[in-house]
């Protein structure tokens, strides 16, 4: 079973998203913390260290958290709510579905809950956060919004066998 949801399908459900870029040693980097490739829910915000010097703040708390950051030193934020679109794929076969379209290893040992990675899925570069929902395997995919029509088609097609 897999369930695919485009979270940004309507303005009401759109997930606020911010990107924070911060060099090592800056206050923002210290505040956000985390290891590269991992994610953590903090209140209303899912914080993801998606690259060594870049964090995503996702969820209703994101704008406030971004605005509250100390950007001294070499740090900056960009609102990416409209650039990246969010798709959630949940269910026991979620990893099998992704494995049809992407080459990353989505097994528990290589991509445990809370892991974040970049991988091409059906030819579209996605940032992927393994973010299980109440114990059910789930992935949050962030991709360039312009691909969404194509992307959902490919995802549903891949999931159709499950």
């Amino acid at each position: 079973m897999v369930e695919i949801t485009h979270l940004d399908a309507s303005p009401d459900t759109r997930v606020p998203k911010a990107s924070v870029r911060a060099a090592d040693g800056t206050a923002a980097a210290a505040t956000l913390g985390l290891n590269f490739g991992s994610a953590e829910q903090r209140g209303e915000t899912l914080v993801v260290r998606i690259r060594p010097d870049e964090w995503y703040l996702l969820g209703d708390g994101a704008p406030a958290m971004a605005a509250g950051l100390d950007l001294s030193g070499f740090a900056s934020t960009v609102d990416i709510s409209h650039s990246r679109t969010a798709v959630r794929i949940t269910g026991d076969c979620a990893a099998d579905t992704l494995s049809k379209l992407g080459s990353a290893d989505f097994s528990d040992h290589m991509t445990p809950n809370g892991a974040a990675l970049g991988n091409g899925i059906a030819g579209v570069t996605c940032d992927i956060v393994r973010d299980d929902q109440r114990g059910v395997r789930s992935y949050l995919l962030l991709l360039d919004g312009s691909f969404i029509t194509y992307f959902l088609g490919a995802l549903h097609d891949a999931a159709s066998e499950f």
Binding site: F36, G37, R51, P52, S103, L117, G118, G120, T125
Partner: protein, 94 residues
């Protein structure tokens, strides 16, 4: 498909990276001669053997790094991020 060890992400499928070719030094554009500049632009050692080259982790950490690759056997060793010393990261991952 080759597995390329990104110094940040670990082993990655080559298709998830961009290949930027032989690593070479850029001459000073102010003082160089046409020969020097065009050597930089066009001439390549292109060895059959070990070669230091540039890769870009385009779907992972988005870092450019250098790695030594054996152009005949495909072996890889010692990836380095620019500004870091060789050997500061893990080696052969295969």
């Amino acid at each position: 498909m080759l597995l390329v060890p990104c110094p940040n992400c670990g082993p990655m499928n080559a298709a998830d990276l961009s290949y930027n070719g032989e690593s070479h030094r850029r001459p000073d554009p102010k003082t160089c001669t046409p020969e020097e500049w065009r050597t930089y632009l066009y001439l390549r050692e292109n060895p059959s053997g070990w070669l230091l080259e540039n890769w870009y982790c385009s779907s992972g950490c988005r870092r450019h790094f250098k790695i030594e690759r054996h152009t005949l056997t495909g072996e890889l060793r010692a990836p380095v991020l620019p500004g870091r010393k060789p050997g500061a990261t893990q080696g052969d991952m295969k």
